[in-house]
Every structure is written in C-alpha cells, then in structure tokens.
Symmetry: C2
Subunit: 372 residues, 2 copies
C-alpha cells in the first residue's frame, strides 16, 4: 500500500449522513489552530453556546457541543441521568432506539422497552401503557427522527406523557435538528442531543446537547458518581461554563468547533423556519419524482421525515448494484437499509446543504438510469 496525501472524490452526499458541507464551513476548519484556553477561543465557545441555544430553541444555560460524534451525545445524556437500578422507558422503532436500550443496560438501568414496528412513529398510547404497567419509571428515551427508517415521532407528546408520570425525557434529535422543528423549551424536553453531520451540514465529530434545570437537578441529586469521567456533565460544564468560572477538563477539538460555529451561522442567516420550509419543499419535489419513476416510499405520509426519505427497493432489483452505479457513475452516495431493513430500502438524505434542486434532479436522473 502506497502511503500518500488523501485524494478526495467529489461526492454528492445523499445518504443518511454526513451531508455535504458548505465551503465556508470547510474554510473555517482550515484556519490555524489556537490554544483551547486562549481568550479568543473562549469567546468562540460563548458564541457557539449562544448559537446552539437558537438552533435548539432553548434558553438552557447548559447547551454546548460534546467533543465526540452523536453516539457520545447519546451516551452522555443517558449516563448522567441513569443510576443503577433505574427503570428507563425506551422506544425502539429502529437502530438508534436499539442503541439507546443497549446503553441504558450498560449504565445499570432497567430498560422498559416499547417495541414499535420499524418505519412507524412511536405510538403515544403504547408509550403511556408502558408507564401504567411499570410504575416508577425515572427516565424515558426516544428518537425524534429515526435515521434507520425515516420515521418521525411526536416527541412533544411523548415528553408530556413522561412528565405526567413524573419522569424525565431524553430526545435524540440527531437527524432532526435544523431540518424539522425542534422546540426544546416549548416542548419542555429535559435533555436533548444531536449530531453535527446531518441537517447542520458540518463534518461528523461533534454532538450538540442541551439540559434543562430539571435534568441538572436530577444529576445534582445522584447518589452515585457518573460512570464515565469524560462524559460527566458536571465536569464538562465547568469547562464550557462562562468566563472565569471555566476549569480544564479535556482539550476541545478546536478546528471542528470553528466549523460548527460557521455552520450555525449559516443556519442563522437562512433562519430556522426557512430551513425547515426548504427541507419540506425539496422533499416533496423528490418524492414526486420518485413516484414518477414508479418508486414507493417506505414510511407513510404522516410519519415521513422530509430530510431522510426511505424508498422501497422494487422486486427483482439488486439494491447494492443501484447504489454502486450511483456512486461510480454519478458520484452520488445514497444509503442502504440497516439491520432488518438491509436489502429492502434505500435511504436518501436531503439534509442541510445537500437539500437543493440540483441534487434532486441529478439523483432522479441517476436512479432512472440505474433502474433501467
């Protein structure tokens, strides 16, 4: 194997993430690295926190990007809010709900699993039944936008039900943030996490999170130490705290944060509402085109995400061959099905900077060509 500088192919990223990254974000990431205790960097941290509050629609003081990919955001939320022996209601309607269940177990929690068919939204009635049948649930966990299926759940209602039973709620907004409304304060979600590489159109590697006061109080009242040192929210918030109260925890990924700041700025310039509208509009156009090609979507209309469209592979079609043709002949990446959906669906992402008419047209042309 010859070792050399990496020559990057020019891809259109229409898979389940990462999405294409705006040139301004790429340029920001190439700025010279500075120290993570530099006063200029501390200003940048403050600016990122402000911008994330807008993105999450929250006033939560504790709103910052975890220094790791979305999975670390997920584990950070769960590991801080679960103590050994806690009952945790977890909705599993795809891969990421399953991942939450696995992490809950590893935190010593007792998962109360609400199993939902893959491709459907979480059924609020089934969710509430779990509380009736299992008294003493401390925490609930669910995914807003299931990246493995393309289904959207009503996390406002799921949070309301959780609170009715005196239970805190954690929501996964990895694939929803920036693409569809995420109203952390209005919906009163206690802890929420996301990822940089979906509708925020940053490279992967950062996981924005936000905790409200109820969640922070629960963490403060823990009887046991958080099992992860790196993910301990008390320690991290000392680092991401304000001004002179900051104290060293780990070394933040400086250049990745340059990129996130710029991506959040781009989103603020467009405006969240406009971004949501763009994602919806482009999704409608794509689906229209898919129908004209004789393709059907996997998720029913009312549950379907605009930023991630799952498409049924027609009978007799070798799905991998189609994906390879798109990649090799058109430089378009689309995603395969995961787990039980492998071979059965494609996942077409229209997230963030990727979501534009030119990409949709090319993707439809490529699919038409590949399906011939």
């Amino acid at each position: 194997m010859e070792i050399k500088s990496f020559s990057v192919p020019d891809r259109i990223l229409m898979g389940p993430g990462p999405s294409n990254v705006h040139p301004r974000v790429l340029a920001a990431m190439a700025k010279p690295t500075i120290g993570h205790l530099d006063p200029a960097f501390i200003d940048l941290m403050d600016q990122i926190k402000l911008q994330l509050r807008y993105t999450f629609q929250t006033k939560n003081e504790v709103t910052f990007p975890v220094s790791g990919p979305g999975s670390v955001g997920m584990e950070t939320c769960l590991v801080n809010l679960i103590e050994p022996g806690n009952k945790v209601a977890v909705c599993v309607n795809g891969v990421f709900g399953g991942r939450m269940r696995e992490i809950i177990s590893r935190c010593g929690g007792i998962p109360v699993v609400i199993d939902i068919p893959w491709g459907s939204a979480v059924d609020p009635q089934k969710f509430e039944d779990a509380f009736k049948e299992n008294p003493g649930i401390k925490l609930s966990a669910f995914v807003h936008a299931e990246t493995s299926t393309g289904a959207r759940s009503d996390i406002k209602t799921l949070t309301e039900i959780s609170h009715k039973y005196n239970c805190l709620a954690v929501a996964d907004t990895v694939t929803s943030l920036g693409g569809i409304p995420v109203k952390t304060d209005e919906w009163d979600i206690d802890a929420v996490y996301s990822g940089s590489q979906k509708c925020l159109s940053c490279p992967p590697g950062l996981s924005p999170v936000s905790f409200n006061q109820r969640a922070l109080d629960a963490i403060k009242n823990r009887k046991t130490k958080v099992q992860s040192w790196f993910m301990d929210i008390d320690l991290i918030t000392s680092y991401w705290g304000s001004g002179s109260k900051r104290s060293y925890h780990h070394t933040a990924p400086i250049n990745a944060l340059y990129g996130l700041n710029e991506a959040l700025l781009l989103l603020a310039e467009e405006g969240l509402e406009n971004s949501w509208a763009r994602h919806k509009e482009n999704s409608d156009i794509l689906i229209d085109g898919l129908k004209k090609l004789g393709l059907s979507t996997f998720v029913k209309d009312e549950d379907r995400l605009p930023e991630l469209i799952t498409v049924l592979v027609p009978d007799g079609i070798d799905e991998a061959k189609v994906r390879n043709k798109l990649l090799n002949d058109f430089n378009i990446e689309i995603g395969a099905g995961l787990g039980a959906l492998a071979g059965k669906i494609w996942r077409i992402g229209l997230m963030g900077y990727t979501s534009n008419r030119g990409n949709i047209n090319l993707c439809l042309e490529a699919l038409s060509n590949a399906l011939k």
Copy 2:
C-alpha cells in the same frame, strides 16, 4: 454579543498543547467531506492504521484513532481492561496520573496508588513495592510524559515489572508520541494511547490507541460487558476492521481523519528518529537560552522531557502577567502550572511543528522582554 465568522489570531503555540499545525494538515482538513462508508474513506482508514503502526512502532493489528480527544483514549483503554473489583496499580506524578486514578475508580477498579512527587519520574522500586505489598494486581497504568510537570518516566522498565507480576500495562503517551521514542512492541506495552494535538501536530480531537494480543485476550475473557458502549473496543474494532468485515458503529470524524493522515505522512517523511533528534536538539537550545536569562528548569536533567520544558517562576514575578505579555505582545502562548504547580511554573512546549529555531528565538526574546 455579535455573532460572526471566527477571526483567528495568529498564535505561536508553545504551551502544553495543542501545538502549531502544519499548513498541509490544515489544507487536508478543508477537503470536502465524504461518507464514512465510502470505499475511498475505507482506504483512508487502512492507510491511517498503517501509519499509526509506524508511529507507535508496533505490528498490533488493533491500532487506530479513537474518535475523541486524548482523555477518551485514556478512558477507552481503562474501561476495556478493568472489571469491577480489579486491583489496578496507578502511578500518580501529575494531573494525568490523577485522572487515570479517577477513571479507574469509576470503572469499579480498586486503585493501588503509587504517589510520586510531581516533577519526578516514577520510581521503579516504589512501583515494584506496590506489587509486593498488594498481591493480585491485574493492570498497571502510568504516564510516559507528564504534561502537567514535564517529567519522563521509564515505561519500558515499568512494563517489565508489571509483566513480572503477571499484570497488563497501559501507558499514556499523549505528549511523548512523535517527540521521544515510543517503542510499543519492543517494550511490550499492552495498551497505549496518545493525542493528536501534541507532537503529531494535528488539531485536538483524536486519540490514537494500540492494543496487543495479550490485551485483546483479556478483553475477550471479560465476564462483564464494557460499561461504555461508545468505547467498547470489540464494537469499535468491528468498525475499524479490515475490508468486508467492517460493520457500522459510530460515524467517524471524517475531516479530522484527513488531517491526521496528513500529519502522520509529514512525520513519516521526516522519519521518527529525525523527529526525536529535532525535539532534543531544540530543547537543548531553548534550555541554554533560558539559563542565560537566569531561569531554571523544574525537572532534573535526566527526567526532563525535550518537548515540554517546565520553568520555575522566579521569586517576585507575577507569572500570569508574563504569560499575558507573551500572548498579547508576541502572540506566543505558553502554559501555566496546573493544580499544586499553579503559579510556580511555566510550561513551554516545543512539540511537533512548533519545535523550530525561529520559535525558540522569539520566545527567548519575548521572555527577556517580559521579565525586565
């Protein structure tokens, strides 16, 4: 607060990390993001693994960068090799040994602490005494280059002693890798981790690790699941495994890995031995200059790291004022003392791309000016 694109000051990074990043590495990070399952990205992963084996001087198959800063590498090594109730010998001669002790406890391990005065190397005799006094130690943990003090320990000897007592050894090489010899295979270290932002001269955010077969066997024979899903070495190695055996775990930080690949290539072009020699030579020049300014180093000659020189703050000098003058008038960042050493020392880094004559000259001039 006005939200805007981040305007980066032009700093010379002579603190304890990050170090200055080579323009080729910055340029690599600005290349377009591609998918983490793209065949081209899989080739890049293979290339990075190959390069890291050279950097760590190992043939270990399981050698890859953890998708998080050095602290995640530390926690990854410990969380996989410790089961609740295990006795773990941990050498504490600075902040990072102390961090290891804290993580060991959070993993359910029982730390057997070898306390060493800050600024000294770990005393092998004291280390061996701990084994004699505490039968049944399963794992030992120590820091090669203590970033908080500037002292180097003899991790070859510490590993030999560990093996004599049938105990695995984990070494922190965050500040040593690339700057002084780290010979993973020759020294037979079982698990080793580092950071991207020191002598590798990458931005922070990645933690290269390597596990030998003895460590992997111990992990395979665990009776309990690893408490962290994200850091579970079995799951991560499926992702970083070779060719068709790869399976999805998390989404790797694509652009950060472009940067690491380029940084490792720069190091290979220079050659490890030449890099070690450069770090030593430049350190000697700096120390000579410091002496001429009437300054003394904190660590005695035989234990002193060439890439991170700790300097005693002279009596009557306001150390923060000196650092601020260097930063504001010369754009030079040097580090303060941590913990018990706050106010007593400065930490001057000559790591990776930072380690050159021009920076040394300017730093000495700036210090001379600030101490007047």
